[in-house]
């Protein structure tokens, strides 16, 4: 095992700060997300308002901090649920093999070939603007990737002699699955998690940007960029800071993912 490289460490530290700020937003943010300061409408960054204020006089820094809550929650929650569903589905498919595997994977192919954005837009339109719709839509499009990956891993791992050894000892399918196959997949799963979370954050931002994000006065990073881009010529800070938050977070996740991969999964199969 190698130690983490400095970009990975720095990224980890940055993400930790963002995460803590998001969790403790009421304390981390200097103002409430919907508090208006009528004396300072559309102000540029000052000592009072670190990232300036928007057209309603709301503190942008506070809104970015509160926005982190929603963006990160969506990122983590959808990825986690997708990972659980995808892992179970992919494991069953790969382990069962044969016809079962074929049918299960054709379903994955169908879901996979639906255009992501269209599906997400349709679902959010049907479910209404809000967390539930976004969550459901993002989970629906991302579990299939995990399922494919996990299936591949199961197919690879189940051919190892230690699996056959377990069968020879008399272990049942459940035991083999949970003790021989799943533990040996953890590295790959952790790495996948770290690469899928930023994608979900990005997807949420995209939704927010095209106007399908959470409703005001709530803010996510995506809806903040949407607020900002109309005034991009005269008040560029309104789009700059939320975009920067998205950019730095995604970049950090990717660096951290690389670091985790080097450590957990250097050749796609670390410990075997």
């Amino acid at each position: 095992m190698t130690s983490f490289s400095w970009p990975a460490r720095l990224s980890g530290a940055f993400l930790l700060v963002v995460l803590v700020a998001a969790c403790f937003a009421p304390w981390a943010a200097p103002y409430a997300y919907d508090a208006q300061d009528f004396m300072n409408i559309l102000s540029t960054p000052t000592a009072d308002h670190w990232m300036g204020t928007d057209r309603l006089g709301r503190d942008l820094f506070s809104r970015v901090v509160y926005g982190a809550r929603i963006s990160l929650f969506i990122g983590f929650a959808t990825t986690f649920v997708a990972l659980v569903i995808g892992t179970i589905y992919g494991s069953v498919s790969g382990y069962a093999g044969g016809k079962t595997d074929q049918y299960m994977m054709r379903i994955v192919d169908v879901v996979f070939s639906l255009p992501d954005l269209l599906l997400i837009i349709l679902l959010t339109v049907i479910m209404g603007r809000g967390m539930a719709g976004i969550f459901l839509a993002l989970t629906l499009v991302s579990w299939v990737t995990v399922a494919r990956l996990v299936r591949g891993e199961v197919l690879r791992l189940k051919e190892f002699p230690f699996v056959e050894a377990s069968r020879a000892l008399g272990a049942g399918h459940f035991r083999i699955m949970t003790q021989d196959i799943l533990p040996n997949m953890i590295g790959v799963l952790v790495v996948t998690l770290s690469f899928r979370i930023p994608l979900a954050i990005l997807a949420e931002s995209t939704l927010g940007f095209i106007g399908l994000g959470v409703s005001p006065p709530l803010s996510s990073w995506g809806t903040l960029t949407n607020d900002g881009w109309t005034a991009i010529k005269f008040y560029p800070h309104l789009i700059l800071f939320p975009s920067l938050a998205i950019f730095l977070t995604i970049l950090s996740f990717n660096f951290l993912g690389e670091g985790l991969r080097d450590r957990w999964d250097p050749k796609g199969a670390s410990r075997i």
Binding site: P161, E164, A168, G170, P183, N184, I272
Partner: protein, 325 residues
């Protein structure tokens, strides 16, 4: 006395898919109509080149692989007819040691867990005496019990193979398949492992199917040898007799292929010409005829039946057909 293991006409055909709709276009006859008996306490050496079906055969005798046809009787019970539950009950009695000492141990478990796994599954020990039994097993196979909390990657190939042996023997099997247990090890370690297996076999009196491509190793261990070529057993017999007077031309070739340490004995005979034919498309008649120095017309068209040479020996070759060549 009935044999411990009776294998009858066992077959394994792997379908080959091809074409647009992946129809079954042909079959690979990995193991084709093999029968043999194994008595209690007997060591049967199974010899043959890579790809001749030795491993497939070994796995089928444990029903780790479903045969295409045939029967396997273990203690007079046809194990191919058993349901999952009954088979699980029988598992401790038949164990296997693998060729690859690296892939055969789960990297997530420590040695104690690996060796104790079988006893845990079959509830052969409670928590306290499980640890004791594991340590006992470790000592038996020459591992230090103080290393029981270590993980497989902390051990060398030979030590890992000892862990694999301990895992199999912890269940006190009556029948053990050794699937080329030493071919992945250094020569110096090979002898240690072979001697260990021999010692353990003598102590426990279990029967062994020892699969190897190395006649020397098999010669050292087994009372009986079966020689396999392209999915069929071509010759069986007591070890000494078979080595002294090999009947099948293939057995002779295998014995001659062994490099000699005595320069005077070297290069007396030409090595076997050609490669092992593909089992996807085996030669007509006797599968060995394209490489056989004594092949004649009949060998090209007609497949030889098993001929008994005496009570203990059989050979699958036209040369021994009493009806003549």
């Amino acid at each position: 006395m009935t044999p411990l293991l009776k294998v009858q006409n066992i077959k394994k055909y792997f379908p080959m898919h091809g074409g647009l709709f992946s129809k079954v276009v042909s079959q690979v006859r990995a193991v084709d109509d093999v029968s043999f008996d194994l008595n209690r306490g007997e060591i049967l050496g199974l010899v043959g080149e890579s790809g001749c079906g030795k491993t497939t055969l070994g796995r089928m005798t444990l029903r780790l692989l479903e045969p295409t046809g045939g029967q396997v009787f273990f203690n007079d019970e046809d194990i191919l007819k058993l349901d999952h539950k009954a088979l699980t009950r029988l598992r401790p009695k038949m164990q296997i040691i693998f060729q690859d000492p690296y892939g055969s141990l789960n990297p997530w478990f420590n040695v104690e867990r690996i060796i104790g796994e079988g006893m845990r599954i079959h509830k052969l020990a409670d928590a306290k005496n499980l640890a004791e039994k594991v340590e006992e097993m470790m000592v038996k196979v020459g591992l230090l019990p103080k290393n029981k909390k270590r993980y497989p990657h902390e051990f060398s190939g030979g030590q890992r193979q000892r862990i694999g042996i301990a895992r199999a023997l912890a269940l006190h099997p009556d029948y053990l398949v050794c699937d080329e247990p030493v071919s992945a090890l250094d020569v110096s370690i090979q002898a240690q492992i072979v001697n260990l297996l021999q010692k353990l076999q003598q102590e426990s009196g279990m029967a062994m199917l020892f699969i190897s491509h190395d006649l020397d190793v098999v010669k050292h261990l087994s009372q009986t040898i079966a020689v396999m070529y392209l999915g069929k057993i071509v010759e069986t017999g007591p070890t000494e007799e078979l080595i002294r007077e090999p009947a099948h031309p293939y057995t002779r070739a295998l014995l001659d292929a062994k490099p000699s340490t005595n320069p005077k004995n070297r290069a007396k005979k030409a090595p076997l010409p050609g490669d092992v034919p593909s089992p996807m498309n085996p030669p007509s008649g006797c599968h060995f005829h394209p490489r056989c120095p004594e092949a004649h017309e009949r060998c090209k068209t007609e497949e030889p039946e098993i001929q008994l040479i005496n009570n203990n020996r059989s050979v699958r070759c036209h040369l021994f057909d009493p009806a003549g060549k």
